[in-house]
């Protein structure tokens, strides 16, 4: 395996909450998460609300401090970075936000928004920064004559392009994208997804792509990690997850997505899960998915399964005591 660009080991984030008058409890938002992203690779982090995917992203960006575990970028532990190294990390890891309406500065022109990271990092002169912004505009499919317009004059899809251009300004090696197309209409979503794929190929970028939308992840990511209740329950190459998923939660998640194909209504055997994700204040003792699992055995309620390699491929791992057989195609 190639050297990892981002490597996350045993990451834990507990948020303290008050319970009663004197009691204290912890929400175990992220509870032992490990994964890595290689140079030029797109890893999708998928799961439902509250599974810990965005908290994981915020930890990687150092917007939150982990309770335990380590995050390394290029082998360097981000928690131990000094001021200079911290600035360097900022250049390497950049972020694209979900909402293009609230993540751009409305008082600055579109070009100034894109050049802002360069200004903050004191890169180049004013003129050279504007030059770079124009170049980035071209890269994301905007016209240089739009540089001086305000964000309010752009549509949602165009604003997301501006957000992407800004993230690329410092030539990062890793982009963290948190639901980057979730607020866009479908006809515009495909434009932005194709742009992200092209940029990844052309610039050799690595992505940590956080999304609740499995269809979108299938079209952008090389590898996928599925999270449930603060843990990764299954991780593997795109095909391993979408064609040979072994964890019952992954299977249920995939089968729950409604297909835009009425002819297949009823033909697809849908797994409808009972109940909801457990409280992270007091997660179940054994497997966290066991209370909702349609094939749970008594052991599942007492044994917490480890993320173990599946036989098809060493990179494919699932945290289940009784992985489901691969469905014949």
């Amino acid at each position: 395996m190639t050297e990892a660009l981002l490597s996350v080991e045993g990451l834990v984030k507990h948020f303290p909450v008050r319970r009663g008058w004197f009691g204290k409890a912890y929400v175990r938002a992220v509870d032992g998460v490990s994964f890595s992203v290689a140079r030029g690779e797109a890893l999708g982090l998928v799961g439902e609300s509250g599974c810990g995917k965005s908290t994981t992203g915020n930890l990687v960006l150092r917007l939150l401090a982990p309770t335990a575990g380590s995050i390394r970028v290029n082998g360097k532990d981000v928690a131990r970075a000094n001021a200079g190294e911290g600035r360097d990390l900022c250049r390497q890891v950049q972020m694209v936000f979900q909402d293009p309406f609230s993540s751009l500065n409305p008082a600055l022109s579109a070009g100034a928004n894109v050049a802002e990271p360069l200004r903050v990092q004191r890169v180049g002169s004013r003129a050279s920064r504007r030059q770079r912004a124009a170049e980035l505009f071209g890269q994301v499919g905007l016209r240089p004559d739009q540089l001086d317009r305000r964000p309010a004059e752009f549509s949602g899809g165009q604003r997301q392009r501006i957000g992407i251009a800004r993230a690329l300004a410092l030539n990062p090696t890793l982009l963290l994208l948190d639901e980057p197309v979730s607020s866009l209409d479908v006809s515009v979503q495909a434009q932005v997804l194709n742009l992200l794929r092209r940029l990844q190929r052309e610039l050799g970028l690595a992505y940590l792509f956080i999304s609740h939308d499995l269809s979108v992840v299938r079209h952008v990511c090389d590898r996928v990690a599925v999270m449930y209740a603060g843990r990764i329950v299954e991780i593997g190459a795109r095909d391993a997850i979408f064609r040979r998923a072994r964890h019952p939660y992954t299977r249920a998640l995939l089968s729950a997505v409604p297909l835009p194909d009425p002819a297949r209504r009823g033909e697809k055997e849908r797994i409808v899960l009972r109940g909801e994700m457990p409280s992270l204040l007091d997660p179940p003792r054994g497997c966290r998915f066991a209370p909702r699992c349609f094939q749970a055995q008594p052991e599942c309620r007492t044994h917490d399964p480890e993320l173990l390699p599946m036989e098809d491929n060493a990179g494919h791992r699932a945290a289940c005591l009784f992985p489901m057989p691969v469905a014949p195609h």
């Binding site: 165009q158 006809s187 979108v216 299938r218 979408f242 009425p262």
Partner: protein
């Protein structure tokens, strides 16, 4: 299991909802914004019609204005629900029909439920308003029965709780219970599962189908999600820039789309069961204040390719039963 083809309505049934030439304008400082521009459709009892489109296509505005839930909008055209001329009804009479003849399930249950009333109180209120002769004990029994019907666990306990004690999925179940409490003739579901996670959405889609079979209501499903449409609808109306561009059975529209916008939309959709490349639709929907004089989709259309007719003449919604508003549908 429920039949999946065509309408569930008996032959020759009269439509529950009949919308004709509906126009919705929003008065703005710079002049009126036409959000809906002449929309006509019917929904039969027991049938689900999906209105599908992107933000600003007028799918929500056309329905909410029709039942009087957009007081700021100016409306014209006709809306007949169960024989009542709904658009010209005086507001008090119309209000009295909401919750009885027409019920609405909104996208965000947390915003639609009253945070300072228990869920039980809201359910009994909905029942009491339209059943003044029911006593407190009977109301309570009926409300708990409704919660059980929408599969809320421990309904007697949940009856006493407040909306903030409910998860999103559970709150949407409560909304559905309130909506079906008085057995409405017309059920409007406005993006009912958009705010929910996909495994919870699967539960709710199942429940919505049950609720519809149970009440036999005509259902109007407003959504942007073609997956949800394929799952739930009998017929589909595809909306673009305030007009219906295609209308037909769900099978016809998905298998043989007759409007270039529908064709392009289906090609641009990422699918969980496919690795095929996405073919985006170029450009963006038109600014409603500067609508193109001809077909509104023309600037983005792969079929029109700048033909004068497309640029000058708005295409009528034509053909039966599979209707399309395209001058060149036979070229598809």
């Amino acid at each position: 299991m429920l039949a999946t083809t065509g309408s569930l309505a008996p032959m020759g049934a009269k439509p529950v909802l009949c919308v004709g030439g509906l126009v919705v304008d929003f008065p703005l400082a710079q002049g009126a914004l036409r959000a809906v521009d002449g929309v006509s459709y019917e929904v039969m009892a027991g049938e689900t019609l999906a209105l599908v489109g992107e933000s600003g296509s007028g799918k929500s505005a056309s329905v909410l204005a029709a039942v009087g839930l957009l007081p700021a909008a100016r409306t014209a055209g006709s809306v007949v629900i169960d024989g009542l001329d709904f658009l010209h009804l005086d507001p008090r009479t119309r209000r009295r029909q909401l919750g009885r003849l027409v019920a609405v399930i909104f996208q965000d249950p947390a915003a639609a439920l009253n945070p300072v009333m228990t869920v039980g109180a809201q359910l009994t209120e909905a029942l009491a308003v339209h059943n003044p002769r029911l006593g407190a004990a009977a109301l309570r029994t009926r409300a708990i029965e409704l919660l059980r019907q929408v599969e809320v666990p421990e309904p007697a306990l949940r009856f006493r709780q407040y909306p903030h004690q409910f998860s999103g999925g559970m709150a949407q179940r409560a909304m559905i219970a309130i909506a079906i409490a008085n057995r409405p003739r017309l059920l409007i579901a406005d993006e009912p599962t958009t705010a929910l996670d996909v495994t919870i959405q699967a539960q709710l889609l199942h429940l919505l189908r049950q609720a519809q079979i149970e009440t036999g209501a005509a259902t109007l499903l407003i959504t942007h999600d073609l997956g949800v449409v394929a799952e739930l609808a009998d017929r589909v109306a595809v909306m673009y820039a305030g007009r219906i561009v295609e209308l037909g059975t769900v099978h016809d529209v998905f298998a043989r789309p007759a409007h270039p916008y529908t064709v392009a939309l289906l090609r641009s959709l990422p699918r969980v069961d496919s690795d095929d490349d996405l073919q985006p639709i170029p450009g963006t929907p038109p600014d409603m204040r500067r609508r193109p004089p001809g077909c509104a989709f023309e600037p983005r259309c792969f079929l029109g390719r700048g033909r004068t007719r497309c640029q000058t003449e708005p295409p009528p919604l034509a053909g039966a039963p599979h209707r399309s508003a395209c001058h060149f549908r036979n070229e598809l």
